[in-house]
């Protein structure tokens, strides 16, 4: 089950905790991967570690023209493109009363607009080849909201809404579009929290601990697989029970 041999996958945010784990897991199932992020050296190091079937495709998602070009670039390097994982994301937290418009704009651009541009650019090839898997890493807060994260929650809720619409548009072409909504996962993003914040969070997670990037990666492997062909427009929550929706 979940064999991905012969499939080519582009993963954004592959220099980060969750993206790195997703790239490793897809590669482990036999996929060829194109690793994207801004830190070229980190991408090279991961590609080196994976060995065969690994390519690097550096891109700043704040530069939307570069985002438009990324799927083609990745497809040329890999010899095809079947799976796109839009995983890169940023936070610029603050109470909304204090939130500067730039904090809003940056988060919406990198998290939501880049997802739109990336998916759109990848779709041509996917509809033509009558196969595609688009997977977006959203967040539990896109569904529940979270004080201090109005911009981030809006971007993640936007990803979920776009995913549902696009899923309906391209389902007849054997292209599925789904979100994964992680809860709290131990990465650099959550490493920035202080002990008090961490304790408050853990008290709300029935599983009693933060998730690992590999927990999210397993969901990506499933959604990318042939076995998930009939699953589209969904949001798969990976959160240790902290929100049951």
């Amino acid at each position: 089950m979940f064999d991905l041999s012969g499939k080519c996958a582009l993963v954004t945010g592959a220099t980060g905790g969750i993206g790195g784990a997703i790239a490793r897991a897809l590669h482990g199932q036999g996929a060829t991967v194109a690793l994207s992020g801004r830190q070229a050296e980190k991408l090279e190091a991961l590609a080196g570690e994976l060995g065969e079937r690994a390519h690097v495709a550096p891109c700043d998602l704040g530069d939307l023209d570069a985002v438009d070009a990324l799927p083609k670039q990745a497809a040329e390097a890999m010899g095809g493109l079947h799976i796109v994982v839009s995983n890169a994301g940023v936070t610029r937290d603050g109470l909304m009363l204090m939130m500067k418009p730039e904090m809003w704009d940056e988060v919406i651009r990198v998290n939501l607009t880049a997802y739109f541009r990336l998916a759109k650019a990848a779709l041509r090839g996917m509809t033509r080849q009558r196969f595609g898997r688009i997977i977006a890493v959203a967040s539990v807060v896109g569904v529940t909201g979270n004080p201090g994260q109005a911009n981030y929650a809006a971007s993640k809720a936007g990803m979920i809404g776009m995913t549902k619409s696009l899923a309906a548009e391209v389902a007849s072409r054997n292209v599925t579009v789904n979100c994964i909504a992680p809860g709290f996962i131990a990465t650099a993003m959550t490493g920035a929290l202080n002990d008090q914040q961490k304790e408050a969070i853990l008290s709300k997670i029935p599983a009693g601990e933060m998730g690992a990037p590999e927990d999210v990666a397993a969901a990506a492997v499933y959604l990318a697989s042939e076995e998930a062909r009939y699953v589209t427009g969904q949001t798969l929550h990976v959160n240790g029970g902290m929100a049951m929706i």
């Binding site: 041509r124 509809t127 033509r128 548009e169 391209v170 007849s172 072409r173």
Partner: protein, 78 residues
């Protein structure tokens, strides 16, 4: 039919899997040939590649019949 019209017809027949006899200039993609809106987008993309032309999104919306497509591409190629 001109050579260009024949090429348009061939793409339509292949993409929509329809009887070539039905693909005449006045045939509407949606009403007569059973296309959905996504088929039209895909046809436009196929025309762009075959004829090496750019069909902007707002022009694509005006292409409703086989004749519309032939006329649009003929104009672009002038």
């Amino acid at each position: 039919m001109s050579d260009l019209a024949e090429r348009v017809k061939k793409i339509v027949v292949e993409h929509l899997d329809v009887d070539p006899a039905k693909v005449e200039p006045k045939a509407s993609f949606i009403d007569d040939l059973g296309a959905d809106s996504l088929d039209i987008v895909e046809l436009v993309m196929a025309f762009e590649e075959e004829f090496d032309v750019e069909i902007p999104d707002d022009a694509a919306e005006t292409i409703q019949t086989v004749g519309d497509a032939i006329n649009f591409i003929t104009e672009q190629k002038k």
